[in-house]
Amino acid sequence: MITFKIDGQQVKARPGWTVLETAREHGIEIPTLCFHPAVSASGACRLCMVELREGTWSKLVASCIYPVAEGLQVHTDTERVRNVRRWVLEMLLAACPASPEIAALAAKYDVVRTRFTSHDPDQTCMVCGLCARVCDEVVGLSAIAIVDRGVHKRVGAPFAKPTDICVACGSCVTVCPTGAMQAIFDSVRGEPTTALTQLAAQ
């Protein structure tokens, strides 16, 4: 057993657990967005950042992937943590203005307005990649690609055409934390074949 502290509370964990898992097991809340228990954690959304402190030294880490260690001093709600969280949420509000889920999450952390202008009022996707991970790791197909990089990063079918790799199981829609996959889904699943004339008739 590994013993350490989260927000002053003594917690116990086994080797291989993450800080987030340990916190959840002990009923300590840490917000997440790109985390889903069904798939591997990617540490992309950075909402689950927590601060590790040791004397004057301190560092922020993503709790969803940070492995537990003996004697850690984890703080889930320090000013530094809040600063990251607030900015990310505020930027998300502008990036995904059409997602009620994002708005609700932001409101929970007292972010209700954003100083940034939105580039696409209908946008809901924040490219956490859960859809692609689920398709790859759970369904085993990998029909959804993470396309492009940097600010242009997005998800979709290869060559932006419905793909017959997709079996339309909808796991991506179910896993999507912002409801964005509903809009994208129809551009991924496609008719499996080109229907022409009856072969059997020949």
């Binding site: 964990a13 086994r14 291989g16 657990w17 993450t18 898992e21 340990t22 959840r24 097991e25 002990h26 009923g27 809340e29 889903h36 228990p37 069904a38 689920v134 790791e137 759970v138 369904v139 085993g140 197909l141 017959d164 790799i165 079996v167 339309a168 199981c169 909808g170 796991s171 829609v173 179910t174 896993v175 409801g179 509903q182 889904f185 129809d186 008719e191 499996p192 074949t193 080109t194 229907a195 022409l196 004339t197 009856q198 072969l199 059997a200 020949q202």
Partner: protein, 809 residues
Amino acid sequence: MSAQAKTGVFLCRCGEHIAPHINLELLEGMLRQEEGVAHCETMAFPCLKPGIEQITQVTADKQLNRIIVAGCEGRLMLNKLETQLRPLELLKGQIDMVNLRGHVASVSDLDPDQKAQKAAKLMVAAVSEMNALHPSSLTRAKIQGPVMIVGDGIAAYPAAAELARHKIDYLLTVPSNDPDDIVDTVHETYPGERVSHDRLKKIVKEGLSNPCATLLVGYKLEMLSGVTGDYHLTFTNPNGETEKFAAGAIIACLDAQFGLPGPGFGHDGVKVMIPSEMERHIQKSGAPKGTVVFWVSDYEIGQPEFAALSAKTAWQMGVHIRQCAPTSKVVMLYNQQMEVPLTAAERAQNRALDILWVPYDKAMQPTVQDGYLTFCNLSDHVEHEILWDYLVLSPQRMVSGQALNTAHILGLVHKHGRFLTGHHARVRPEMVGREETYLAGSARLPCSLQDTLAQGRKAAAKTAEMFHKSAQGDLFVPRVVCVVDPEKCIGCGQCQELCDCGGIGVADGPGGGLPRIVDPMVCTGGGTCAAACPYHALVLQNNSNDQREARVAALAQRLGPDESMAFVCGWGGLPAADVAGKQALKYDPRIYLLGVPCVGQIDACAMARAFKEGASGLLLVGCLPETCHHSYGLDHAWARVSTIKKLLSLCGFDRRRIALAHADLNHPLDFVKTMDSFTRSIAAMGPIPKSLENQNKLDALYGLIRNNTRVRHLLSAGLRRPWEEIYRGDQRHALDYDRDFSKVLAEEFLQQRLLMVFRKAKGPFNLDQLTGQVQEDQKEVATCLWDMVKSGVIHFSHMKHEAVYTLRK
């Protein structure tokens, strides 16, 4: 294994998603009372590492052999649980999930206690199903060489070469064992690919001559039997004798053929020809002199999707002509809708060779005249002329002749479509690529020679991978597949006709009355075949009808009078419900959802069971007809629902108590409407009044649909076959059929009811007594009794001058 079922239930708090909404203490308490529950506990997050470690511990300590996790979407989470709990040796089917979060917690305004009640019913139903499971043991699939490569397509050679690379023996049917012969005729199926011929020859040589190869020169495939790993193929050899070969796997290499364009295109085979004819001309008399016009006529002959392919190969031929006969002129004439399929470098080459590309207005079809061709110019819309000495048209592409025949024998001809592409339902990840494993070549879908060669190689690489896995002992028979009980199977062949994945065949021989076997490596676990078996000889293992009935029964017994239940299909209804739950859309809480992989696998007797056990209404929520992953699951479900409807009517109940619905997972709001509408209409009808008479009718209904082989035969015979036209909700049968079928049902139902009367009390009964019991028209009862006497079910005698009937022993 696991003779005694011991099922553990783990309830998930899921942070704020379940615990505050459902009174989990109450739920846990209720479940602990249940006999079938060996263990029950509430956890923070059973899905996270701490939770999984806890489950592992408890399962080992209490020697549980079944686990149900009540949390969120099993569609997402089950995979992880199955993987992480593998050390416990719990196999697929022994772990299940109930989506309390999405089907109970978030979707209604009931209070936490009421939600706990609802959850308890769902959980008990799930536990009952689990306890009825007879888990199959884990079996390894054995697949060993040789591989049979049939079909004479050009893809056979890269496939062969690849197999040789993996040191796998193969049998290869070839028209000739001389590589030159083969490459010299390849233009018949792949014209315009001269650049590749040298490389191709190398590949062909590799495939033909290496120690792994056994060549079958001039053999013709006649018959296929057996299953993956153990195929038997019968051929006619060149001497007309029959020869039989065994193979572990098959690769079909089939190429599409060319047909001639219709008379409207002026084809004469001499000056106006298709590419393969031009190739023959080049081969015989060299590159043509004069002006050669290639008209990419695919739009006009009704195959626009192949225009780019035709254009590219035509251009390659044009390049060859220009290079060999520099005085000749080459013109490419193409429909404006087509994009010129040349890369930048090819454009440069095109310029250097001075090949003219001329687009024409799509509104006007060019007209072939002797020595010239008129077309509508794009820029001025005036009719222009191109002079030609030779005109090359696009060919009609099709699968025909020997290739089609072979495809039929191998079961590769599916559904509709001119080519053989993509017809196996791909419902399991390991199924993806199976189609490619089997099939390579332009008969799949017309493609370039390069593509075909790559397909052949890929098919072989995948086959080799399968062999390798099998040799390593890593290839397992999928758990949820159909198995045949040879004791019960009479060889009627219904299942084989209905099978959409091609997994059912006969062990050896031509078919007829022989018992069927299932190829588990091909079976997709759709299960409509099992549901259709008149004798319950076919069982979907680890997901059987008995399990389903147990679940239905457990739930139906606990439903309130205005509550109803719904089967939701794993591709439509269930994900729609999951999404609705995720979005916390509210709908009538009086509906109870039971997930099934496909509504097509629900045997009609499971539907009947619901009513027998007291359900007021049953809904089947499938996917949209065109999107059914098992081809006709929804259609088959419709036929079964319709049968139950007729029987409900015969009982005198409202037949709308059972209904079929569709859901698309991406339209959760529509799903909510479906739920509300059905639940309210059932609640408005109220329950089926509880009376002995009604119960007798329901028992008879169930008994009929479960055991009456005549009805079951008729039902499955009436189901749509995979090769039939796609279902679009149109009229399935002529009205006459419906009338006949209804008549049979009425007859058999009455017989069933009478039988039950006989079974309940010894008898003998006279006609009046029996008529009174079933409350039907005396004349009909008398006719029915006489039928039963004739078929030997009951015995007819006279007692005190009165005709009486007794049950035959």
